[in-house]
Amino acid sequence: MNEPVNIRELNDLIASKSNFSNMIRSGMDRRIVGQKHLVDSLLIALLCNGHVLLEGVPGLAKTLAIKTLAQLVAAKYSRIQFTPDLLPADVIGTLIYSVKNESFEVKKGPIFANFVLADEINRAPAKVQSALLEAMQERQVTIGDTTFPLDSPFLVMATQNPIEQEGTYPLPEAQTDRFLLKVVIGYPDKEEEKRIIRQNIYGTPEPVIPVVDPKEILEVQKIVEKIYIDEKIENYIVDIVFATREPSKYGLADLQSIISYGASPRASISLAKAARAYAFLRGRGYVIPEDVRAVCHDVMRHRIGLTYEAEANNISADEVINNVIDKIAVP
């Protein structure tokens, strides 16, 4: 086939970097049983320079996943346990008076790391959440008079527990929108659970050896940015997002009373970015509709507001997304 050089070059480039994702995946597999989707989502977020909001009950290897990823990338990792008495300074850092030097010195917070696990983000008050989310967005932190850029790559994985809602501060919609993906993880199956038991009770787990350099991740991020998205795919993304805003125009009148607000333009951007990263993980230099559908749920589920009627009828955002993607014609 006489394909244009740029796509061929890109495909070759992606093929040369394909071991990157394979190495990370196999490294993750050695420590985490199952949770393939979680691993893929973390990789997508990493490749898109985005962040992940993770929802799942305790004990599903959320912390282990991001910790292992940090170790595999040989990057700096920090964990912040969000509590009601947490202060913004505990996250971003503060100025401390040094008696020795007789001056204020900057004490950087745990956010100065490549991989940050914000555990149970909804347990801290809004001011702390805002401090974190602002840092996530701006990728820089101002302490005193000085602005400090955050490390690159920078990935925040925030977790939420879906069952204990008492005494929590649910993230406002505007804040959740800043997460590239919202991943909902479930329990492992029987076979996986058996493997988890064996892995944890027989001997010590083998140490994680770094397989990727943070610089390599930045290079791969640049490659991902070059992945080709055809206008047909753009139209497909736009149709999906618009169908959440004006369902009746897309033959989804039933959803009109279920959706209180549709996905934002940031959703369109995130969908395109995530689809590109997914295409990279599949070794392609171009995006196909399958890539869009694969990331659609994770990108959109926290960006669609549901009405009281939907909640009363136990209709989830995932069901709404299913209806939308089953109705929009694939290019």
Binding site: I233, I288, P289
Partner: protein
């Protein structure tokens, strides 16, 4: 002398005029039947003549209650007050008012009805007197004595049990029933005729796909460097074919989903490779800016035609056909030759799965 003659003439004409002006009010009475059975009715006609424009009437009736009666002859004869009146213009400023008064009596005997006084304006007139004989009802002394009749239950009908509003609006219900009947008749005719506008038989998905593929070939898109449009149309034709032929929502499915759907369909499982080859190349062309070789374009088209041809719906024998066959068999038995085509309707064009 002459003057006295004139005066006497004037006086005479004045008297003549005055006599005309003072025409007497009169009233005349007569009975339809002067002899009635006890309890039976006869009619008393009272014909009153009076001047036009004057108010007149019988004082004896004027104070009686409506639909009541006035008793005369010691209350033995009852004159009903439900009087019918009829006025006749007699000319010369006079009218005649005929009063028809029902008369009834419950005591036998002969009665002379009193004169009826009629008052019109300032004039009063009396009628003539009429006689009425009331004959008692003959009693059959030798007839068998019967007991009192028992209480008679009123004649009931279904309407007694219905609410008044339902009965009062009978015209509405009748209209609704009529409309319903008309609607049912109309619907039956509509069905019999196959609808007001006869539905066009749905074209066979196979025929549509082949026709559209032919059109696509004739447009010579890839020959003009429009490979992307060519593959977009080619995949659209195939997707629509899959949707109509196999009930797969192919228009809303990705390449992998379509192949998975075909894999799970036993009828088309073997032919899915044609589709896989077409869709894989189409994805390259549509989404990766790839310009395929002419041989790829031809191969994709050939694969599309092969797929459609090899999954062509098999026409099931029509019910009418089987009936015709049965008739043909019976013809052999009976020896009467009836051509099957005379009995069968046109074969259904297009086929199901």
């Amino acid at each position: 002398m002459k003057l006295s003659r004139h005066i006497s003439l004037i006086m005479l004409s004045l008297l003549t005029f005055m006599s005309g002006m003072a025409a007497p009010v009169s009233v005349k009475a007569r009975l339809d039947s002067v002899q009635i059975l006890m309890g039976k009715l006869t009619v008393l006609h009272l014909e009153a003549v009076q001047r036009k424009g004057e108010k007149g009437g019988f004082p004896m009736f004027s104070q009686a209650p409506q639909d009541g009666y006035v008793g005369v002859c010691g209350d033995s004869v009852e004159l009903r007050t439900s009087i019918k009146r009829d006025t006749i213009d007699l000319g010369s400023g006079m009218i005649q008012i005929n009063h028809s008064v029902p008369v009834q009596a419950f005591d036998s005997g002969t009665y002379r009805l009193p004169q009826f006084v009629y008052v019109s304006g300032r004039d009063t007139a009396r009628s003539n007197s009429v006689a009425l004989k009331v004959i008692p009802v003959p009693v059959a002394a030798d007839a068998q004595i019967s007991d009192y009749a028992g209480p008679v239950s009123p004649e009931g009908s279904v309407f007694d049990f219905l609410p008044d509003w339902l009965i009062d609006l009978w015209w509405l219900w009748l209209s609704i029933i009529l409309l319903a009947v008309l609607f049912i008749i109309g619907m039956r005719r509509y069905r019999k005729q196959g609808g007001v506008l006869r539905k066009k038989p749905e074209p066979n998905p196979y025929e549509v796909a082949i026709k559209r593929l032919g059109n696509l070939k004739n447009r010579r898109l890839w020959e003009q460097g429009m490979e992307k449009e060519y593959f977009t149309l080619l995949t659209d034709i195939l997707r629509e074919y899959l949707e109509r032929r196999f009930d797969i929502n192919a228009m809303e499915m990705t390449t992998r989903q379509i192949i998975d759907s075909l894999s799970s369909n036993t009828e088309v499982k073997e032919k899915r490779n044609y589709m896989r080859e077409i869709l894989d190349v189409a994805d390259f062309v549509k989404f990766a800016k790839v310009r395929p070789l002419p041989s790829d374009n031809i191969a994709a088209f050939d694969n599309a035609v092969k797929f459609v041809e090899e999954t062509k719906p098999v026409e099931k024998p029509d019910a009418d056909d089987s009936q015709a066959n049965a008739d043909a068999e019976s013809n052999i038995k009976t020896g009467i030759d009836i051509p099957a085509s005379h009995k069968t309707a046109d074969n259904k064009k297009g086929g199901g799965i």
